[in-house]
């Protein structure tokens, strides 16, 4: 039952956010705090 919630439209993130810029050569460190290792984004998406 895929549906669009019209009432949520005002909350939609602006897609015209300023351009993202990466710093060349920089290593970015992202922490992930999850429920269980068997339900991680890696499990779901890779």
């Amino acid at each position: 039952m895929k549906r669009r919630e019209a009432l949520l439209a005002p909350l939609a993130i602006g897609t015209s956010m300023r351009a993202w810029t990466q710093v060349p050569g920089r290593i970015y460190r992202v922490g992930y705090l999850g429920f269980t290792a068997t339900n991680s984004p890696a499990d779901l998406l890779v």
Binding site: Q22, V30, Y32, L33, T36, L44
Partner: protein, 282 residues
């Protein structure tokens, strides 16, 4: 992390992922949060409000992208949905509205069911910043939602993995006919136990996330949320302030029925309900 890769961030190149899991012991989030500060994480992505609150407790500047936060404004994590204003943004979930929909679908699938149990984690909600009064209000809203569908709702608290035995015994003694599991860190850690319990006791079970071995699931598309979260992360790594990025609510939901499991329990799901499902597992 596939979505981050598509956005130009890949492990082994310009990205290091530091993942930590509570495995049912949400008190571990405090240590994990402190560790994130120590290792100077650029951003923390969390799957739940308890973890997000733990990060906020140790740093008021570390950017946080989160999913599955029922009401970040009510919890004091953000000033508003449109302009969070602080260090946190991401995707909230629908809270009681979601549970209402789950109950409604359960009723449609199993019209004779009138006694349903909801297993939540009040301690998790308190840890996210809501008050005891908020918890009571949420529980009352949930009970009212069930009543409006002609159901009696039994609400059981599983605040720690050690509560499982008492909760499962209560489910049987109170003759619950179906079960709704809240998306909590504790229930996630108990997933296999709940799955085995539901099967042994022929208890139709509804969860939010599909693919967890339960008969029904209804909730936002997890893959969609992770994809959106990756976009938030990329924007913040690229210089955007989390407080400037509106908090979204999910817009795409999926209803999945494990018909094979229903048949094994001798249950017949009405065709009209099967047609409402996005996916029917045969």
């Amino acid at each position: 992390m596939q979505w981050l890769r598509e956005l130009g961030y890949s492990q082994g190149s310009n990205l290091v992922i530091e993942d930590r899991y509570a495995e049912g012991r949400m008190e571990r989030y405090a240590d994990f949060a402190a560790e994130m500060v120590k290792i100077k994480a650029d951003i923390v992505f969390t799957s739940n409000p308890t973890a997000a609150r733990a990060v906020m407790a140790v740093s008021r500047t570390m950017p946080i992208v989160t999913i599955f936060v029922p009401d970040p404004v009510r919890a004091g994590m953000a000033a508003s949905y449109a302009h969070p204003g602080g260090q946190l943004t991401g995707i909230s979930n629908l809270g009681v509205e979601l549970h209402f929909k789950q109950l409604e679908l359960l009723k449609a699938a199993l019209p004779r069911v009138t006694r349903v149990a909801f297993v939540g984690c009040p301690r998790c909600i308190l840890a996210s910043g809501l008050s005891a009064a908020d918890v009571a209000a949420i529980q009352a809203e949930r009970t009212a939602a069930a009543r409006s569908l002609g159901m009696t709702l039994l609400q059981l608290d599983v605040d720690a993995a050690s509560d499982f035995d008492a909760a499962s015994a209560a489910l049987l003694s109170q003759r619950a006919e179906a079960l709704v599991l809240g998306s909590t860190p504790v229930n996630a850690a108990l997933r296999d136990k709940w799955s085995a319990f539901a099967e042994q006791n022929r208890l139709p079970t509804m969860v939010e996330i599909s693919g967890t071995g339960m008969m029904f699931s209804y909730g936002a598309s997890l893959a969609g949320m992770y994809r959106r979260a990756a976009e938030y992360i990329a924007k913040i790594l690229g210089g955007a302030a989390p407080g400037d990025l509106p908090i979204e609510q999910p817009t795409t939901f999926q209803f999945v029925i494990n018909l094979k499991m229903a048949k094994a329990m001798g249950l017949t799901i009405p065709q009209s309900t099967l047609l409402r499902a996005d996916k029917v597992i045969q």
